[in-house]
Subunit: 158 residues, 2 copies
Amino acid sequence: MNVEKSTETKLTSFGIKNTFQRKRVLEILAGAGQPLTVDEIYLRSKQEADVVSLSTVYRIMELFAAKGLVLKNITFDEKKYIYELAATRHKHYLICASCKKKLGIDDCPVEQLERTLAGQTGYKIVGHKLDVYGYCPACQQAMAKTEGADSDGAAKTK
Amino acid sequence: MNVEKSTETKLTSFGIKNTFQRKRVLEILAGAGQPLTVDEIYLRSKQEADVVSLSTVYRIMELFAAKGLVLKNITFDEKKYIYELAATRHKHYLICASCKKKLGIDDCPVEQLERTLAGQTGYKIVGHKLDVYGYCPACQQAMAKTEGADSDGAAKTK
DNA sequence: ATTTTATTTGCGAATGATTACCATTCGCAA
DNA sequence: TTGCGAATGGTAATCATTCGCAAATAAAAT
């Protein structure tokens, strides 16, 4: 009951009406502590009774994004959208290209660039998107072992 | 001189066999001077005889990207892929959120960050993605005129 | 508490981009 | 020119996302 309460408060404070499904999705998102795709949210909702239907998850995420409750981004493979609570501070990630683990990056070197660009171009800058890709230590080790046939361009993009 | 000749040379230098379609696509890409989506390439190929089929354009772009001839990115609305010759230097853009015009950004402040991150996390950094969004001067003016019904949260993040 | 009225949800069908298939055609070396 | 592996065209299949609409709800009014 208590957790529910703050969830409801949060929704209304963003100008979003309370419904069971919206509270549910918000809880899932808050509990995850990491960005989630629509189907991940849908799957988690199915782990208990009262599933939130897939299309409703889509609608809710669009609503949340429009209201600024969540940030809409795209996955590493750029094949689907992924959402995270806007409250979560880091907007940038260091993403392991192999295991997809995400590390938040606190430092953002782009703000300075934005000021420079604004002055040079006259654009009114509204935001930016930055992700850094690499291989985490664990995956580097794993790859070192498994390696053997990688002279040419074997490590295909996909 | 023979544009064809250099096109062929370029393909072979990237380890790509010459076919009519591949030369055609490469020419279109070079002539465009800006990133193109698959269907844009397809449409341009249709402006003359000897159309390159849509699925072939897809295959060719994937091949070009795998060989490093082109860079694969995603459009502003994040709904499809867009390709540009890798030779083209800027990997980053200042994108007008209204008219979608793209300006190349020469300066890249991320390389320094990459070094810092590598040291801090042990990750082997392989690349990054950065785009800055804003409104170009022209669109700012246009919006100033058209404004009037924008009291609520119309100018949302996306 | 019940009715009213505007939303929201669910589910299935539609869409749009991308990929998979497969029969036909092409590039190129012998 | 011939032969064969690679490439192409056309289309069917996939996958994420969006739509349409009847049924279920929420908040407001009675």
